[in-house]
Structures are given as C-alpha cells and as structure tokens.
C-alpha cells in the first residue's frame, strides 16, 4: 500500500515535470481544452441565468375570467365568493363591467363607438392570481374555472411562459450536445498529446521494461498527465467563463434595466464548475487510457 502510494506520488511528480518541461506545448493544449470546455460551460452559465430570471419574468402569470354578458350582478357576486374559497387561487380581483366601460371610454377613439351602442358590451371579469404558477398547474386551474356557472371565457396568460420554457429546454439540450461533442474533442486532444509523449519517451519505456517495470508503472505517469491536463484545461475554461461573466454583467444589467428588470448575470455555479473540473479530469484520464492502449500494448 505504501509502495503503491509512493509510486503514484512519483508518477504525479513526473507528470507535473513533463507538463512544466514543455511550457509551449502545455499552454497550447490547455488553451485548446479550455476553449472546448468554455463553450458548454458558458452555455450552462447562460442557461442557469435564464432559468433563474424566469420566475422574475413570470411573476405575473394571470388567468382572466370573463362572465357571460347577460350575467346578473348576483351571479358575479356568487362567483366572487366561490373564487375566494378556491384552493389554487392566491387572489382574485373583480373588474366590474362599469369600470371596464369607463376605462374604455377614456381610451382614445373608442368613446363614440361605445356611446352608439345600446348597452354596455363588456362583461364582469376577474383577474385571478394562481397560487401555483407552473404552466401545468395553471392549465388545470383554468379547466376548473371554466366549469363554473355563468362563466363565459377563461383566458390563460401563460402561453408565452410555456414558449419560453420550451425554448429553455431546447437551450439545455443544445448545451448538453455541445458538451458531448467537445468532450469527445477533449479525449482526442489528450489522446494525441499522450501519444506524442509516449513516442518521445520510447528509450525510457524500453529501459524501464528491461529493469522490471510493470505496465502499470509505465502507464501511471501518463494517466496522471492526462488527468492533470484535463483538470488544468477545465480551470482555464472556468477562468474564461468567469471573465466573460464579468465582462457581460454591465451591459446585461443596463439592458435589463431598460425593461425595468432587476437582473444581474451570475457566474457559473460552484456545483457546475466542480462537475466540469471532475469531468475534464476524467475525460483526460480516458484519453490517456485509450492512447496507452494503442501505444504501449506490445513492447
């Protein structure tokens, strides 16, 4: 066990020396890996920001409930009471037909048309704020409200929320796809750099075998090399995404305030960043394993 740990420590030290020994190569590999990982990581950062901004945007999904035009005020009173007792409803604001008529008359152009009508064309209405704002829950609530007596029309103002939701799900899939593709890229980069290393260390590998080195002994430093290269590339990617976040924060905040939104771009979450680093190291290790399988199998 002690021997095993010692050999791993030696292999790690050797891998670090090799990384430091060819700084230009190392830098280029790290940049390539960094860019490859920064794309999905940046996508994830934007996605989670959009996700967290969404509840703020959809804080006002409402259901509009219109009574029949010929409903008596007694009916409206009735519905008001029932809405009050409804479980899924946070609040329901009545909008009487007189108020609507007055507001419409105040609006430009409509006054004369409305004067000409024999009677008030508007129904009593309610603006309902649901307790649960998820699209499915709102659909369900709307269906229940449609069953109420003398209710003519129930309009769900959440269609756009659903569209945005679908768009975000698409974004999520795109990020995953990108991560998958560029993960393969990372494996390929590691594969190649390990292959070159093995080729340049032919003499050392040959001598080590003659002196009784096992396959594990010979491969160990390369595994470490691959994993370290992936990990450091991941750190480069994180730095890139962080830099981009800082850079974009000002302009995005300005844009958001034009829409009267209080929104500041958040950096990549620690859990996402950690996952990326672990995955990057694992992919580097995988690339090394594939390469070693190829290059050190038979000698």
């Amino acid at each position: 066990m002690i021997v095993w740990l010692r050999q791993h420590r030696n292999a790690l030290a050797l891998a670090l020396r090799r990384l430091a020994g060819a700084p230009v190569n190392t830098l280029l590999s790290l940049l390539a890996i960094g860019v490859a990982l920064a794309l999905p990581a940046g996508g994830q950062m934007l996605y989670s920001n959009a996700r967290s901004a969404l509840p703020g945007l959809s804080a006002s999904p409402q259901i509009s409930l219109f009574m029949a035009v010929d409903a008596k005020s007694k009916d409206t009173q009735d519905i008001a009471e029932r809405l009050h007792r409804f479980d899924g409803i946070a609040s329901a604001k009545p909008v009487s037909r007189e108020v609507t008529l007055a507001r419409m008359k105040a609006g430009a152009g409509l006054a004369e048309v409305l004067e000409a009508l024999p009677q008030n064309p508007f129904p009593d209405a309610f603006v309902v704020n649901p307790r649960d704002e998820r699209p499915e829950a709102m659909e369900k609530l709307a269906a229940e409200l449609r069953k109420l007596p003398r209710v003519e029309h129930v309009q769900l103002d959440s269609a756009w929320v659903q569209r945005l939701d679908a768009l975000l799900r698409l974004g999520r899939t795109a990020v995953l796809l990108l991560a998958l593709l560029l993960g393969v890229g990372l494996v390929a980069i590691t594969f190649n750099s390990i292959r070159l290393q093995v080729l340049t260390s032919r003499a050392e590998i040959e001598v080590s075998r003659l002196l009784g080195a096992t396959d594990a002994f010979i491969r160990r430093p390369y595994y470490w090399f691959g994993a370290l290269q992936g990990l450091l590339g991941g750190l480069v990617a994180w730095a890139m995404v962080f830099g981009a976040t800082v850079w974009l924060r000002g302009p995005i905040f300005d844009l958001a305030s034009l829409y009267r939104l209080d929104f500041a771009l958040a950096p990549l979450a620690a859990s996402d960043a950690g996952l990326m680093l672990v995955l990057a190291a694992a992919l580097g290790w995988t690339g090394a394993a594939l390469s070693l399988h190829e290059t050190t199998a038979d000698n």
């Binding site: 050999q7 030696n10 050392e204 001598v207 002196l211 009784g212 096992t214």
Partner: protein
C-alpha cells in the same frame, strides 16, 4: 539456478540463432559464454531475461520456465536479474544518480533507503563523486561502469552482461572485468557473454559456434 534444455531460437525467415542448446549454471557460478560474433551469445542472455522467448525447448530460471511466463510475471523475473547491455541503454536525459535510481523507483523503494543504495552502487564502480554529472560527459569505460551500477543497485541474485568490455581499451576492459569478479565473490551468479574470454579468468567457459554449443 539456470538450466537450458534443448533450447532453440529461430528468427524469421528461418535463421537459427540457437539450436539444441543444453547447459546448466548453478547458483553463485561465474559462467563465461564465448564465441564469435553472431554465434548466439546475446540471444542466449535475452532468453534468460525473457526479452526473447525460445522457439523450442525450455529455459528454466530458479525452476521457472521463463519462456512460458505470463506477460505480467516477466517484470518480477527481471527485478532479480541485473542486466548490462553492450550498448548500455543509459538514459541521457538524467544524471548518474537518477539513472541508477530507476530500478529502485520501479521496485518502489523508500526514497532514503534508495538514495543510500544508489550511492553505494556508484561508490562500488568508482563514480560516486560524479553522481550529478550527465552520462554524456562520461568516457566509454565510465558509461559501462554506470551501467553495471544500475544493474547491481537492486542487489539481484544474478548478473547478466552482454559484451561489457567491447569498445573499451585493454586497461579499462580489465577494470570493468574486475568489477564482475568482485560481484561473483560476494555470491552473485554472473553470466558474461564475451568474445575475449582472457579478461575473465577463473570462470567456467561454454562456447557457442553458429548457435550450437561447442564442446
């Protein structure tokens, strides 16, 4: 300790490096394998260390048939064999100390004990004062002595040397040969393949002639 039982080695396309070779060498013996260039001396040594596998017969080392060893078992066989090659196979990207350290690193020695052994081995071949030097700065004889230090640092039970005195002037060759005698005297089994048997008096001699054992 070592037994060759009707061993043959044929390289494609049908070149017999060794044919029907049988001999034995006991523990602690000093065996000189003589013969002309191309007689099969190197092949014989390679078979003992499982660098090559025989195409016929059996090579037994400590009772183990090394020709039939699993790939994973070969490293552990080699750790008990000190190998000195004609072309030394030194690593020129590291200093003397690190060259000699390599077998101990492979075997997983503790750093302090390993360093002590490396210095003892370098001292034994007279290179201790140059442990920080690079191999390229050494003369031919010094490089050969460095290779011997690397071969013995793990204190193997057996030392195999392939033409260790080739390319050396006669004085240097005598110095190097003397080192093998010293190891033989402390109980190491030594097998030296050489074209110049006069450098190794006192050893038992076998001669190869075109891959066959000559009487």
């Amino acid at each position: 300790m070592i037994r060759f039982d009707r061993v043959s080695k044929r390289y494609p396309p049908g070149i017999d490096a060794l044919a029907d070779v049988s001999f034995e060498a006991g523990a602690g013996e000093f065996l000189i394998v003589g013969g002309h260039s191309g007689a099969g001396k190197s092949t014989l040594l390679k078979l003992i260390a499982a660098i090559e596998r025989p195409t016929g017969g059996a090579v037994l080392v400590n009772g183990q048939n090394v020709g039939a060893l699993a790939r994973g078992a070969i490293p552990f066989l080699r750790r008990n064999i000190g190998l000195v090659f004609q072309d030394q196979k030194l690593l020129f990207d590291r200093n003397l100390f690190d060259n000699v350290m390599l077998p101990l690193a492979i075997a997983g020695f503790a750093p302090r004990e390993a360093a002590r052994r490396v210095r003892a081995a370098l001292d034994k071949v007279g290179l201790l004062s140059r442990e920080k030097a690079m191999p390229i700065s050494l003369s031919g004889g010094e490089q050969q002595r460095l290779a011997i230090a690397r071969a013995v640092v793990g204190r193997p039970g057996m030392l195999l040397a392939d033409e260790p005195t080739a390319h050396l002037d006669s004085d240097t060759a005598r110095d190097v040969a003397a080192i093998f005698h010293e190891f033989h005297q402390v109980g190491v089994t030594v097998i030296v393949a050489t074209y110049d048997q006069r450098l190794f008096p006192g050893g038992r001699q076998v001669r190869l002639d075109h891959g066959r054992l000559a009487a």
